[in-house]
Structure formats: C-alpha cells, structure tokens
C-alpha cells in the first residue's frame, strides 16, 4: 500500500513501487485527464506537477514520490498559473483533438510559475518536450504569452 498526495487528497493505492504514477492515476484512481502517449517520456502527454514542477508521470515510479504534492490537470485550474493558462487556451482556441492538451497546459503552468514572463527561448525549452500531433504550436506559443501578460 502506497500513500500518494494528489490534488490535496491522500490516496492509498495497491501497486508495486515501480509502477509509474501515470497508470495509478488513470487505471486505479480514474483520473483520466492525464494521458498516455509514449511511455518513454518523449511526448509530454502524461505531464503532472510534483511540488509545482512539471514531471512526466509515465516514467515516475510511485515509490519515489513519498509525500510530495502531486497536481494533475483535474486540479491545475485551482492554481493562479493554471487558471491563466486555461483561460488563454480558450481565448485563443488552442485546442484541436485535445489529447495532448492536458500535458501542454501542465507544462505551460509550470513554466509560468518558474518564469512568469517567458521569452521564445524559454517557451521552446519548457514546451519542446510536449508533442502535439495536430500541430497547435503556433497558438500554444501565443497563449503562453497571453497568459504571462495577464499575470
């Protein structure tokens, strides 16, 4: 039994320590907003926050997390950066299929927390790990700038 602090609530889960957080969130806890894309931390669809930092949950063993705070897409709107990112995403109609967008929103929210006014290079560095197959990159960049401007 492992205790995980997710979105402010402690969950006890029955899974081995090597189980990646992604599958605990999705399959055991029903938090399906966090997505599976590649399983090798190459696409960013599974991005969550651990103590406010963006982390790929597909390679993060639950045994390594201890009592650090896990935030998922379902609760990111409760943070100021998350709310601003979500609003900018809607204002600029970033979304197409939407499958990668949970991860994009999480990565962007973490970027704005650490770098409230990112330039293009900051955006490239923070967001290049998140693939969007629909190709919404032009709008993601614009939305991050808009969200930063709203701070």
């Amino acid at each position: 039994m492992t205790n995980l602090r997710i979105n402010g609530q402690v969950h006890s889960v029955e899974a081995t320590n090597d189980t990646p957080l992604l599958w605990v969130l999705r399959d055991l806890l029903g938090l399906t907003g966090t997505k599976f894309g590649c399983g090798i931390a190459q696409c960013g669809a599974c991005t969550v926050h651990i103590d406010g930092n963006a982390v790929r949950s597909c390679l993060l063993p639950i045994g390594s997390i201890q009592d650090r705070a896990i935030t998922t897409i379902e609760a990111i709107g409760d943070t100021p950066e998350g709310a601003r990112v979500q609003k900018a995403w809607l204002d600029l109609e970033v979304v197409q299929c939407g499958y990668c967008q949970s991860g994009q929103v999480m990565a962007a929210a973490a970027l704005l927390k650490s770098t409230p006014h990112p330039d293009d290079a900051d955006i490239d560095a923070a967001m290049a790990g998140n693939i969007c197959r629909c190709g919404t990159y032009v709008r993601i960049r614009a939305a991050i700038k808009q969200a930063a401007g709203a701070s």
Binding site: G33, Q96, D124, I131, T136, Y137
Partner: protein, 724 residues
C-alpha cells in the same frame, strides 16, 4: 463533453423513429435526407435513395440537442456543423448540446462516401446543405406552430434566440413551448433557407464546443472509458507482418503482481492485468517465439525495387488531353519522385474497450467508421448487429488511422477470452509497428517547355490502391480515384496532359489513408516538378504558375494574394529560400509560400509560412485557420522527419525517439489569409498538410540549388555531401 451514444435498436427499427414525431423524452424530432451521390457504388446500395440521416432534438424545456453524424477528432466539426444547424434554426448557440450519432448507415450516410464515415475532408462539403435544410425545416415548423397558436399569418412571425416572435403584437413563444404542436405538423418539402447576409453564426469564429473540457481533463476519449469492473490489457502481434505465434512461455508473466490472464491467439499475445503497468510488465516477461512465415525477408530496398520496376508498366489512363505522344517527341524533360511509408501516430494510441457477453457485445472506442466497428464486432462474435452496442468517443487524433477497424477486431478477439470488460491499449511501439501505413509511391514525370510555358505533361503514379480494399465498388477498371486525386486536377493551362496509374501492392505491408491522402503525395510531386520547369524556363516560380492559370481564377487569386502577403521577390539572406505551391484539392484552393533556412550540415529550419485560402463560404474562419496551421505542421513533420522502413519483415521504427514529430521549437510562424467567397464550402482538414512538402522542397531548392525528389528531406544532399 462525453460524446457517447447508444443504440441497441436494429437499423430498421431506428428508422421508424425518424418521421417527425414526439420523441420519447418529449419533444420534436426531425429527420432529413441527404443526396447520396455515390451510394449505388457501395455495398449498402439497397438503402432507399432519400433515407433520413440526422436529427435535431428540441425538448420541452427548450434544450436543443444536435446529433453529430461526423466524429470530432480535432477538426472542429462538432462546432461547425452545430453553427450551420443553429443558424438556420435560430437557436441560442450557447445552449446547444451535441451528441454523437449511433452507428447507422441508413441515417447517417456521408453522401460522398456512401456510408457513415468521417474522412476525406468531406464533412462540411457533404453536410452543408442538408444541415441548413434541416435547421430551416425545423424552424419553419416551429413558426407554423406559433402562428397557429396565435391564429396569425406565419409570414408575420420571425425567430431569434430559440423564440418565435409575432412582431405586430409583440407576442413571443419559446421553442420549448412549441415542440408538441410543431411535432404534429408536416415538414416543408423545400424550406426557405437564410440569405447569406442573414447568417448570424455561419461565418463567425464561434467558440469551439469541445474546448472547455479539453483544457481541464474532463473530456473523455476512447482510452478514458472506464466501465465498471474493467481490466486492462496490452498486446503484441507478430513483429513480422503475417507471422503467427509459435510458442509462449507464460511462467514469467504469472509472477508479475497484478497480472490476471495471458491470452494467446494465433497471431498475437495479450496480457490482462489490474492496470496497464501490470499488463505491460507481464507481456515483457513472456517468452514468445514466432513463426515468421513468408514475409521474414521483406525489406524497404526490395519494396522500392519492386515499385520502381512497376513504373515501367503502362498504367490505367486517368486523364488524357491532346496528343501526349506527339507532344513529348522532342525536348522532353524527365524526373522521378518517390515518397515513403508513413505511420499516423495519433497522440491517443490505438485502444479499444470491449465487453463480450454471450448475448451482446459492448464497445467503447473513438473511431471514424462506427458502423464498420459494429459490423466487425458482430462478425467476430457471431452476434446480430443490433446486439453490438458501440459508444463512440472524442478521438485523440485520427488522420486516417481510425478509418480502419483492424484494432477493433484484435480487441474483440482478445475480449472474447476475458470475463468482464477489458480495455486493450496499444503501447506506442505496437501502435507504430502494427499499423497500416500511408503507401510508398513512385512517380514518373515528363514535360516539354516552349516559350516559357508547359506544352506537354505526363504523370505516372505507381502505388498501392487503398480504395480497392477500403471500398471495393469504388475501384473500377483498375483505377484508384484517390491515388490520382490532385493529379487529374492538374490546374495549369497545358494542351497535352496524360496521367496514368499503376497499381503496385507492397508485399506484406498493409496500407491505408493518411491525412491528405492522394493529394499529399501528388501535389508534392506536381508542384515540385512544376517548380523544376519554372527554373528550366528561367522564369520566376510564381509568375510561371500565374501565366498558366487562366483557366483557374480562384487558384490564381490565391497565388496573387499569397505572393503579396509573403513579400515574394524580397532579397533574402544566404541559404534562406522561399518556395511556392498551388493546389486545388478537396474543393478548396490554396497557395502557400514557405521560407526555410538550411545550415552547412543540411539542417533545415522552416521560418515562416504564408497561406492564402479560398474554401468558399468559411463556416468558422478561426477553425479553418487552425486546420491550415495544424495541417501544415503535420505535413512538415512528414517532410522533415518521417519514414517507416522495413527490415526482415519488420517495421524498424519504435516510438517518438526514432519516429520523430515536429516540436514547438521547430515550428514556423504561420499566417493564413482567407479569401471572402460566396461559393459552396470546400474541405479544409487536409489541404494544409498537402501544401507543406511542396512549398518546403521548393524553398530548399531556392536556398541551396538542391532539388529533392524524395521524402523525407535528405540533409546530406542539402549539405552537398551527396547527390540528391
């Protein structure tokens, strides 16, 4: 928004429902008919010629539900179709609810393709007029009901925001209050449609209905389905196409905590567990030996040699104008082009959740061909169609991959061995290696120039026929109309044109549609070769095209606009070039200018792209811009990075580490300029993808003088380290 649907009714019983009647929940149900242009060619041709196809539902409380025959996979179709319906209906758009249609070819046929399918950039083209008529018809019935209630002339009433208003007396009735009376009236045969100037939603950048739930994790895709008691499984099929399981040692898997079951079928192995990690670990712990069969030696080199050899055969003539033999008799300029196999790699890996019971089968999936999903499950389980319940979902990227039901078939076969519902999720590696692929194509071109113009054009296309498998009745006399799509629409004023097609199926490798289908390949080849000819003629590539587009005024206007907006002709730094491409495919006209920079190592940076689009009436201009932006990036990804290669009968690529995607740091700035038009709407999901490779390849030539006649781009050739 959870786009799920239910129908255990057999197709026939559902149809009865369609006559205008009071719906079970109380309210007005309205069906409408679509013209079915190619229906007779399809196996479902026994359908009546004007079968009703979709619904508007208005409840007594005024809630408007629009039932979507077309699936939402990012193209914004739920919103665009809703705009059309809601505009003609005059309903409050903020209160519209959409619902995915159940599987039913009789009701939801795509008139261009003959069954219930979302693809080929057809949705708006096909459903534009029927949706308007449906909206207008329902509106007329509501007006009639209100007029009868008030005993006034319907002509003295108008509608707005889900209300009928009697202007002279100021009386108002909400649609909800009118549904019972409206349901008893007869739908008008030929309802009056709004004039274009009266559109309130059509032509506006209405907010996407699906966006809010996609930024907060609430949207439910197929992979998110969680029926009670669901188990989780993953699978491995023979790495060699067509191979079989020889032996499985299950011992290792049984020791993995959370593993429940190992399933061995003739061509695949699956492990079921309490969660995906247990299933995956279990699968990795199995010792599987394969009987690789006949395809164990197939290689990319062999397939390329076969397709090149096939290009020497005469093809089936797709288009012939003038006297090509005579026109090509001297000063012929020739080139060959080829493009690779491609995987779709949608961000949502292939998946399907299935519950097979003795008397029924229930499926949760996101798929572009929901009736085929139902049919394949019925066939495998032996159940009648009406006992296969399909919940269709939002799709996390289709691009043609989800036009196929190979994954559904595998999932149902696995689920037959499982007691209870099971969610089968492909690993990314399995998704890429056990896919169906955009075909390899090989093209031979020949042309003659005289006085700076093309006087003869011959184009031979060699490749797999997807249509022959996907829609056999559409494959007529050896001609695949998709394989030559774009090529037979050659837009330039050339007196002698000859296009033919040679079918060459690649040994062992399954092929299927991929975003942009035929035109993605053909326009790359055509616009690259036209560019070669412009340079041979010593002409500016834009002017060379303009000079020969007298017969294509809409395309010509796009080209003029894009040249102006891009600043064509400006001086550029060294190793930066601009390339142009023009196309008229999917009922839309595009001219595109890409600007790219090439470093000394041949690395390419696409810097800026400008696109001028005439897609007729723009239902949602913002969605159109988004589709062009995304489509271009999809196409640049392929041109810059993508190819599936085969060795020892296996796909060599694994995951995003070696099947690369364009990332944000590589993405260019993109400007989309829409030309105002009153023409019927064109398709827009695929044209952007089509424009990418030719505009880029022509830009790379301008930057380096190196002509690339194959994809993906060859960086060594661009660096001058080897010939192209």
């Amino acid at each position: 928004m959870n786009a799920s649907c239910n129908s255990l009714d057999a197709a026939g019983s559902r149809r009865e429902f369609l006559k205008v009647s009071v719906a079970a929940g109380g309210g007005l149900l309205l069906g409408f008919a679509l013209p079915r242009a190619h229906a007779a060619e399809h196996a479902e041709s026994a359908l009546p010629p004007f079968a009703p196809d979709a619904f508007i539902r208005i409840d007594r409380n005024g809630a408007v539900t629009l039932i979507m025959s077309q699936v939402e996979m990012g193209q914004g179709i739920y919103t665009s179709i809703s705009q059309i319906l809601a505009d003609e209906l005059d309903v409050d758009f903020s209160r519209v609810v959409v619902e995915a249609a159940p599987p039913n070819d009789a009701l939801y046929t795509n008139g261009a393709l003959g069954f219930q399918v979302t693809g080929g950039s057809t949705s708006i083209r096909v459903f534009w007029m029927p949706m308007r008529k449906a909206g207008a018809s329902a509106r007329a019935m509501l007006v009639e009901a209100a007029a009868a209630t008030w005993r006034v002339d319907p002509g003295s009433c108008r509608t707005a925001n889900s209300e009928v208003i009697h202007e002279p007396s100021g009386r108002r009735l909400s649609y909800g209050a009118l549904v019972d009376r409206a349901a008893r009236s007869t739908p008008p045969k030929d309802p009056t449609l709004k004039a274009r100037k009266d559109f309130q939603l059509i032509g506006t950048p209405a907010r996407r209905l699906d966006s809010p739930d996609k930024v907060n994790g609430r949207a439910i895709f197929g992979i998110d389905a969680m029926p009670a008691g669901v188990k989780f499984a993953t699978l491995r099929a023979s790495p060699v196409f067509g191979g079989k399981v020889a032996h499985v040692d299950e011992a290792g898997a049984r020791d993995v905590p959370g593993v429940r079951q190992v399933i061995v079928l003739d061509d695949l192995v699956a492990v079921v567990g309490d969660h995906m990690w247990a299933a995956k670990k279990g699968l990795d712990a199995l010792q599987i030996s394969w009987d690789e069969g006949l395809n164990a030696a197939v290689s990319s080199e062999q397939l390329f040699n076969e397709i090149r050899a096939a290009s020497d055969r005469d093809g089936v003539v797709a288009k012939s104008v003038g006297d090509i033999g005579k026109a090509l008799s001297s000063n012929k300029i020739e080139a060959t082009y080829h493009v690779p196999f491609l995987a779709h790699a949608p961000m949502e890996p292939m998946n399907c959740t299935v519950h097979v019971r003795p008397d029924a089968c229930e499926i949760w999936v996101g798929n572009q061909v929901i009736t085929r999903t139902q049919a394949v499950a019925a066939k495998i389980t032996g159940l009648p169609l009406g006992k296969v319940l399909v919940h269709n979902h939002l799709i996390g990227g289709g691009f043609g991959r989800r036009l196929e039901v190979d994954g559904i078939a595998k999932a149902v076969r696995i689920a037959q061995k499982v007691d209870g519902p099971v969610k089968i999720v492909w690993t990314r590696e399995e998704d890429i290696q056990q896919a169906m692929y955009r075909p390899l194509y090989f093209d031979r071109l020949a042309a003659v120039l005289a006085d700076g113009k093309i006087t003869a054009w011959r184009h031979r296309i060699v490749g797999s026929s997807i249509l022959a498998r996907f829609a056999p009745p559409a494959f007529v006399n050896g001609m695949d109309s998709d394989a030559v799509d774009g090529a037979i629409d050659f837009p330039y004023d050339v007196p002698n044109i000859h296009v033919d097609y040679v079918r060459q199926e690649p040994t062992a490798i399954p092929t299927c549609f991929w975003r942009g289908v035929g035109p993605t390949h053909n326009i790359f080849v055509i616009e690259s070769f036209v560019d070669e000819l412009a340079h041979r003629a010593g002409k500016d590539p834009v002017q060379f095209r303009l000079d020969q587009l007298q017969g294509a005024p809409r395309l010509r206007a796009c080209l003029e606009l894009v040249a102006k907006k891009a600043g064509w002709g400006q001086t550029l730094p060294a190793r930066v070039g601009r390339g142009v491409a023009a196309q008229s495919v999917f009922g839309s006209y595009l001219a595109t200018i890409a600007e790219a920079e090439v470093d000394r190592n041949g690395e390419v940076k696409v810097r800026r792209v400008v696109c001028a689009v005439d897609c007729g009436i723009a239902v949602n201009p913002d969605t159109i811009a988004a589709q062009i932006e995304g489509g271009l990036i999809f196409g640049f990804t392929a041109a810059l990075h993508s190819q599936i290669t085969i060795a020892k009968g296996r796909v060599q690529q694994n995951n995003f580490n070696d099947y690369r995607m364009m990332r944000i740091n590589e993405a260019p700035s993109i400007e989309v300029h829409l030309i105002q038009s009153g023409e019927a709407p064109g398709g827009i999901g695929e044209p952007g993808t089509v424009a990418a490779a030719p505009s880029l390849a022509n830009a790379l030539f301008a930057a380096t003088g190196v002509r690339l006649r194959q994809l993906p781009i060859d960086r060594d050739a661009l660096a001058g380290k080897k010939p192209a």
